[in-house]
């Protein structure tokens, strides 16, 4: 039990949990916290003090088959336990469906610094038309827009594969969803 969790009020507890969740990282993109990704939808605490305080964290998957979700679920549990919250429940919600628009601006900057092009605003893709114009995606290395898509599917469900025509570097694009 970490000192201090005994007597804090519900709002304080919820705020503290939001801070704790900032330390839970996406296992596949470890520069991003789950808050940067926008997958934590709500934190709910009961009024009880100390270890009896019931905590519920509502999370939503980026993609239906994202294998990181089970790891993230366990990581949230561990982090909350470390801070004295022993009565925790992690609930998956599917609606409304996650969108890249929920990614934080800070998250997008971190992605770019990590070498992954951050998602463009959503209205640009997710259209069913075949051979539609590929999005203009900025190269995270040299900032050129002269890039082309190699594949709509990449190393994880949430990424597409691009290459820069100027600096020739291949890079991942966190595709808009």
């Amino acid at each position: 039990m970490t000192p201090g969790t005994n007597d804090i009020t519900r709002n304080d507890a919820e705020q503290k949990i939001w801070q704790i969740l900032e330390d839970v990282k996406d296992p596949e993109i470890p520069v991003l916290s789950i808050l940067d990704l926008g997958i934590v939808r709500a934190v709910k605490c009961s009024n009880e003090a100390g270890a009896n305080k019931a905590v519920e964290v509502l999370i939503t998957p980026t993609y239906s088959g994202c294998p990181a979700m089970d790891v993230i679920r366990v990581a949230i549990h561990m982090h909350l336990l470390e801070h004295g919250f022993t009565n925790c429940k992690i609930t998956q919600v599917l609606s409304p469906a996650w969108t890249t628009d929920w990614m934080s601006e800070a998250g997008k900057q971190k992605l770019k610094a990590y070498g992954i092009a951050p998602p463009n605003p959503r209205q640009q893709v997710c259209k069913p038309e075949l051979f539609d114009h590929a999005e203009a995606v900025q190269c995270p290395h040299c900032n050129s827009y002269h890039t082309h898509r190699i594949s709509e599917f990449g190393s994880t469900a949430c990424k597409a594969l691009y290459q820069c025509d100027d600096c020739k570097e291949p890079f991942d694009y966190f595709k808009c969803h």
């Binding site: 239906s64 609606s95 259209k127 075949l130 594949s151 190393s155």
Partner: protein
């Protein structure tokens, strides 16, 4: 797969729970079996990028199947008369037999060559996209939520597989011929998509409208792919039965491989 049951929203709308569970099995099994089939390509794709693409699609389908199985498990556990043990998504995927699987016959067909895999994917994804769009308004909020989530992923699948149908059909003589052979093999399995099983009749899905929309989309893609769509006539012979558990010879082999570990070592975890 996780043993927790993380879903919320347990209403089954107006469907009697048995029919609701059967319908969820149909949706889940179809996604799972195609996922399993596509995963056979892992490490064998024609080029690395397409190997990654087909296995990504596999993963999306597996996720959709899990969501439907979890919801089915919730309903089963809530309506069990004499609950003995809690049913999980794993039980539903690994411990049901061939006759209990309600997947479409189309998805259990062998991968064949790349043309056959692509055409199977396109037929299915185009159908799934139209179906999920309707299911987004389903009166069971959890089915609606899963469908709304899956629509986005399926949009990528339709675009990817549709573009490949055009590339191969309108490609070389060799690729065109292979698409025609694939069409000969698969067309007879497309009729089943639009023939409702008993448990499907109360879902509120208009399969006739779906069929028209599907044919319009497929015709447009085939025209660009310079492929001739088989004549669609009333009463033309089509294979059916998968939705009711009567399968082609292939499903047994798929399940034997997929379920082996849980059958041989019940409850094994890693």
């Amino acid at each position: 797969m996780s043993n927790e049951s993380p879903t919320t929203g347990f209403l089954t709308g107006n469907l009697p729970s048995a029919a609701a569970v059967d319908y969820l099995f149909y949706l889940a099994d179809s996604a799972l079996i195609l996922s399993q089939r596509n995963s056979e390509w892992c490490g064998h794709g024609p080029v690395l990028e397409q190997d990654i693409a087909i296995t990504n699609i596999s993963l999306d389908l597996l996720g959709q199947a899990r969501n439907f199985y979890q919801h089915a498990a919730t309903i089963i556990n809530q309506t069990a008369q004499q609950p003995t043990k809690e049913i999980t998504e794993d039980d539903l995927a690994f411990l049901r037999s061939e006759r209990e699987f309600k997947n479409l016959l189309l998805v259990e067909q062998p991968n064949g060559d790349w043309a056959q895999t692509i055409l199977r994917q396109y037929f299915f994804s185009q159908f799934q996209l139209l179906l999920y769009r309707q299911l987004q308004n389903h009166n069971d909020p959890q089915i609606a939520a899963i469908a709304a989530k899956s629509v986005k992923e399926t949009t990528y699948h339709v675009r990817w597989s549709g573009e490949w149908v055009i590339r191969l059909g309108d490609g070389t003589e060799e690729s065109h011929n292979r698409m025609e052979t694939a069409l000969d093999k698969l067309w007879a399995y497309t009729g089943e998509l639009f023939v409702p099983a008993d448990y499907e009749k109360e879902t509120g899905i208009d399969l006739l409208k779906l069929k028209e929309e599907w044919l319009t989309k497929v015709k447009a893609v085939f025209a660009e792919a310079t492929l001739a769509l088989p004549a669609v006539q009333e009463g033309a012979f089509m294979q059916i039965g998968g939705k009711e558990g009567r399968h082609t010879e292939y499903l047994g082999y798929i399940l034997a491989e997929m379920q082996y570990l849980q059958r041989a070592y019940p409850g094994a975890k890693w």
